[in-house]
């Protein structure tokens, strides 16, 4: 049993952190957030040079074949640094392509920083149930025709291609009949409406009107996309847990700094025992969440879907609980400063609140956890 990162992992984590400290400061980040696109071409270029875009891509397509543990190292840093670039969306999308095994060119473009991806899976009504799909995929000559509307597509407008779920058969919430496609964002019939998200990022409503795609756009087998969706969603969960861990680390640390510095009644407020005990509770949450984020990254590739679901849902639950506790307490302990837009703390808080609502909240994953066979005595 070994909880250490390899030297190599530490190195690229450090490199990423150095780049953020130097070139992606809070002020820079805020400028990017308020820019028209909400992302930075220069930053993407830098991330490509740091090998970040290649990391999740298989070596066959010019990538570094990074696993979920490698991704933990980098996602932590993205979280800590509040990076708003479409890295999560792209890495998550790449996982679909990797599972599909037929999108070598696009994966190569991802590895080399030429292509960004986004995942258009949710719909207005679907909440966290990714199998709840109204968007239709009909056979159309050699290919397919997609119609429907996807909502809250993270970095949809910044992507070059979208992974899209659609129903080629079955009823609205059937697990069978789901098909996955990859669709370039310049495909005719696609309308993308970009907007800001609460945590300073971008998302979009993506409308498909008679969008024709070739047969090669299909990921996996027609109507059998459910397992791929399930596994890729779990991969997304471990990325988010890893990112949340970095966010919480930074937020806890700035809270500690704040209570040690902020003076009231002639002493640092961190000398008040009631606050000390709450900080101790935050610390316990943080370490328990760290354990679960690590466990999730380590078990992502365990090969047993039941065990994978169990651990990923457990991690999302536990990290979600920690995120809520640490986030809310950090704001409270920062006092007035905690509710301004001016400190990174409130942006860390917002990111945590939004991670909680991405790919399933605490209740969703508790329910999924208890539905697993492994939960039975």
């Amino acid at each position: 049993m070994d909880f250490n990162f390899t030297q190599e992992q530490q190195q690229y984590g450090d490199a990423l952190r150095r780049w953020i400290d130097k070139d992606y400061t809070f002020e820079t980040r805020q400028r990017i957030v308020h820019s028209s696109t909400g992302v930075s071409g220069a930053a993407w270029q830098a991330l490509t040079e740091l090998g970040m875009t290649a990391l999740p891509v298989p070596s066959g397509q010019g990538g570094f074949d990074g696993d979920a543990i490698d991704m933990l190292v980098v996602m932590q840093e993205f979280g800590r640094g509040l990076v708003v670039e479409p890295y999560f969306a792209t890495a998550w999308g790449a996982y679909f392509l990797k599972l599909a095994g037929n999108q070598y060119h696009l994966l190569q473009d991802v590895a080399e920083g030429r292509a960004k991806l986004a995942c258009a899976l949710g719909e207005k009504h679907s909440r966290y149930d990714l199998a709840d799909i109204k968007t239709l995929a009909a056979v159309n000559g050699e290919g397919y025709r997609i119609d429907g509307t996807k909502t809250v597509v993270l970095h949809g407008a910044q992507a070059d291609a979208l992974v899209v779920s659609a129903r080629s058969a079955g009823g609205q919430r059937d697990v069978n009949g789901i098909s996955l496609f990859v669709v370039p964002t310049d495909t005719p019939g696609l309308t993308i409406r970009d907007y800001r998200t609460l945590d300073g990022r971008r998302a979009a409503t993506v409308q498909f009107s008679h969008v024709a795609v070739p047969a090669s756009a299909l990921l996996g087998r027609l109507g059998a996309g459910c397992d791929m969706l399930d596994e890729a969603a779990d991969y997304g969960v471990t990325l988010l847990c890893s990112e949340a861990l970095g966010v919480m680390d930074a937020l806890f640390s700035s809270t500690l700094d704040y209570v040690k510095t902020r003076q009231q009644f002639g002493v640092p407020i961190g000398s008040f025992q009631a606050l000390q005990h709450r900080l101790a509770d935050m610390y316990i949450h943080l370490e328990q969440a760290r354990s679960m984020a690590m466990l999730a990254a380590a078990r992502m590739s365990c090969g047993d879907p039941g065990e994978r679901r169990r651990i990923m849902s457990a991690a999302k639950v536990r990290v979600g609980q920690a995120a809520r506790f640490i986030g809310q307490e950090a704001v409270q302990l920062h006092g007035g400063m905690g509710v301004t837009d001016e400190l990174p703390a409130s942006h860390h808080f917002k990111r945590l609140a939004m991670i909680e609502r991405t790919l399933g909240d605490i209740d969703h994953h508790l329910e999924r956890y208890t539905a697993q066979k492994l939960f039975q005595p």
Binding site: R127, L198, G336, M354, D361, L366
Partner: protein, 396 residues
């Protein structure tokens, strides 16, 4: 013991309801119910509608223009306004500076300011907190030096709510730096148009311009604007703190928000069934509803015992009231799920008719969740309230 409203109370409630039905402008009501941010004019409009009815200052004595209501009637008014979704009658004038002026102000101050507060001719803001003086308010540093018949004020206030709209500020300033920190403080009324005042916005985490920093650079305040005696300001501030804090629980408002939450949870579904029928979610809503039911009863217990100043029990009402408000906003974004992510500033600020996502009711809720984090911090943080309970009630 009889926990029902009397026939007279019920008749009064009907009167209030009729008034609200006839006089609350639908556009204002829609904004409030939909969590869209209000403009200066929105607040003033509603205040003046209430004032025309003689109801803008429910807690005031009749001699100054109060309606002469019983504590229960005041509670009913607050509750009905909350439920209907009126803009808040901001407390800075009516509930904060006015009682101090009534108790300690000069005849001239009373004659000048009180009618103007009643009718919202002046917009007041509160000059209390400073960068170094939050929970430890008495350590404030803003300096006022008397030179003949003016005070020269230098220093800085912060977290000043809606100061960008304000005509007047009631302000705690240090007039004697050489005594115990509570003893050298005075209570000044400052005209916000005075030269030397700079108001700098602080954006809150939901990118709202609600609070400000206010800088004073050799601001000249006529000495007749001193309330009461020099160096006795801390006494007045404490008087104010113990005054009129029943509305602090926000029961009426929380009832409206809870009803909104339930409607929302009934319209959103999970696995094809309304979320309000999901056992986990329904239970959370029930827990808040029960806590609110208990709090309303606690409020009524407190106000029927102690009409004007609930005393340290107000700390209980503040803590639980703000927690309930926060829980409700949290549950609202739980309902939205992933649809909580979009942030539509134009719609929030009332600059756009509809939300970019098409979900007008849902769009402001995540920002609302963020915004409401302040409630456990402002007005004496909930930690300070617990200290008060421990010391004043539990004798620890």
């Amino acid at each position: 013991m009889d926990l029902s409203y009397t026939a007279a109370d019920l008749a009064f409630r009907d009167k209030v309801r009729a008034f609200l039905a006839a006089n609350l402008p639908p556009d204002l009501q829609k904004k409030v119910r939909n969590h869209v941010r209000l403009t200066r004019n929105d607040y003033v409009r509603w205040h003046q509608i209430a004032a025309r009815q003689g109801w803008s200052a429910p807690g005031w004595p009749v001699e100054h223009g109060g309606p002469g209501w019983t504590p229960t009637q005041r509670h009913i008014w607050e509750e009905e306004c909350g439920r209907a979704g009126t803009p808040q009658i901001l407390p800075f004038g009516v509930n904060m500076v006015a009682p101090v002026i009534m108790a300690f102000g000069s005849a001239a101050q009373k004659a000048h300011y009180l009618p103007r507060i009643l009718n919202c001719e002046d917009w007041w803001c509160q000059g209390y907190s400073e960068p170094g003086a939050g929970s430890d308010l008495a350590s404030l540093k803003t300096r006022a030096v008397r030179v003949n018949d003016v005070y020269i004020v230098n220093g800085q206030k912060t977290w000043t709510t809606l100061a960008q709209h304000a005509d007047m500020m009631f302000c705690l300033v240090r007039t004697d730096p050489d005594v115990r920190k509570q003893e050298g403080i005075s209570f000044l009324l400052i005209d916000m148009t005075s030269p030397g005042i700079t108001v700098r916005p602080i954006l809150t985490l939901d990118e709202e311009h609600e609070v400000n920093e206010v800088f004073f650079e050799n601001v000249r305040v006529p000495a007749i604007n001193l309330v009461g005696q020099e160096n006795k300001g801390w006494t007045y501030a404490k008087y104010l703190l113990g005054h009129e804090r029943t509305g602090i629980a926000g029961v009426g408002r929380s009832k409206r928000e809870l009803a909104f939450l339930k409607k929302l949870a009934n319209e959103h579904s999970k696995h094809g069934k309304p979320l309000l029928q999901d056992p986990l979610f329904a239970t959370k809503v029930a827990n808040v509803e029960i806590e609110l039911m208990a709090l309303e009863t606690t409020v009524l217990r407190v106000i029927t015992r102690n009409a004007h100043s609930p005393g340290p029990e107000a700390s209980l009402l503040k803590i639980r009231g703000t927690e309930i408000q926060q829980w409700i906003t949290e549950l609202m974004i739980e309902v939205l799920g992933p649809n909580a992510l979009p942030f539509d500033l134009a719609y929030l600020d009332g600059d756009s008719e509809h939300a970019v996502t098409g979900d007008d009711a849902g769009a402001p809720l995540a920002a609302n969740y963020l915004n409401m984090r302040k409630t456990s911090i402002y007005g004496g943080s909930n930690e300070i309230q617990k200290n008060i309970i421990a010391q004043m009630i539990l004798g620890l």
